[in-house]
């Protein structure tokens, strides 16, 4: 539901970072999107494509790297990927865990022509 405002924030970051390269077209915008970041990727792409029309970004495409949800166990120290929705350590069944990835939403790289 909020992908349009997320797309707008992405565009603002790209515009700010490419201010000194205004003569070059933006081709690719790389994102890292955690699986638990509540982003519907199709909606994000749609929102981005809609908002970039008539801007210097109108050729740009999003390249999205989806990041798995990974937890670190405070008891046994093992890192594991959460595939379902159980935030327990699959090794020792402890629930003393810390999420170390999976909720990120980053612009990581911008490629210009």
């Amino acid at each position: 539901m909020h992908e349009l405002s997320i797309a707008q924030s992405i565009i603002e970051i790209v515009e700010e970072k490419t201010k000194s390269n205004m003569n070059k077209k933006v081709k690719l915008v790389h994102l890292k999107v955690g699986r638990l970041s509540n982003i519907l990727l199709d909606s994000l792409n749609f929102g981005f494509e809609t908002l970039i029309q008539d801007t210097n970004l109108n050729d740009a495409k999003l390249v999205i790297e989806e990041v798995p949800v990974v937890i670190a166990c405070n008891d046994c120290g093992i890192n594991s990927e959460v595939k379902g929705l159980s935030f327990f350590c699959p090794e020792c069944k402890s629930n003393k865990i810390k999420m170390i990835s999976g909720d990120e939403l980053f612009v990581t790289k911008i490629e210009l022509e």
């Binding site: 924030s9 980053f106 612009v107 210009l112």
Partner: protein
């Protein structure tokens, strides 16, 4: 082809404003909760109950998020506590700037407890830091016991869970133990309260917990 390395959080701008809000709250010694739930789970009713039972013990102010109306804010206003209304005009979540604007209309420095009632939505508000101390997620038993599994990000990001409308349990298939188990499988640290705003059951536990978190 040239490449610009960025590594910037998409919501970095929101986080900057959220941190400014947090500093103000910290300076004021406010305890700030961000109430999140589906529409109609009883957030405003619980805010009303909290105000009625606590307004003589400590001072409260409320920031009401509403998609279209000021109906909730009017309910709070009737109880005689300061309230600022934010109408998002269709927007599905509050962001830190909206809360910052609302704070200009409230004397937050006088409050012990600041309640931010978010727009009814269990998806988008999960990602937006408003500067609060904690998110409190709300579920009513009419919504079913699988809610935590459907909205894991919100349950991960919350510190407390209120299971509301428990007076309706005899009429529903909702299994409260299953609901709790589902919530704790997503977030084992959730502090859970069972409440009914109609009968008043469980409200005292909630209020005692609020009191134990006050900073002044």
């Amino acid at each position: 082809m040239s490449i610009i390395q960025v590594e910037r959080k998409v919501l970095a701008k929101n986080d900057v404003v959220a941190n400014v809000n947090r500093e103000v709250f910290l300076e004021n010694k406010n305890f700030v909760i961000n109430l999140v739930s589906s529409p109609g789970s009883g957030k405003t009713s619980l805010v009303e109950q909290t105000i009625e039972k606590c307004k003589n013990d400590f001072s409260i102010c409320v920031i009401e998020g509403d998609v279209q109306t000021s109906l909730d804010a009017e309910r709070i206003d009737k109880l005689g506590v300061p309230v600022a209304n934010i109408v998002t005009n269709g927007g599905c979540h509050l962001d830190a700037s909206l809360v910052s604007d609302a704070m200009q209309n409230l004397e937050t420095e006088k409050a012990d407890l600041v309640i931010i009632e978010n727009v009814g939505n269990l998806v988008c508000p999960a990602g937006y830091d408003l500067g609060e101390d904690m998110k409190v997620v709300f579920v009513s038993v009419t919504e079913g016991d699988d809610k935590p599994l459907k909205y894991p990000a919100m349950f991960r990001n919350a510190s407390a869970l209120i299971i509301n409308k428990i007076d309706l349990l005899p009429y529903l298939k909702c299994n409260i133990e299953e609901l709790k188990k589902n919530a704790l499988s997503i977030n084992p640290d959730l502090k859970i309260f069972l409440t009914s705003c109609t009968t008043g059951k469980g409200i005292a536990d909630w209020i005692n917990w609020l009191k134990s978190n006050l900073k002044k």
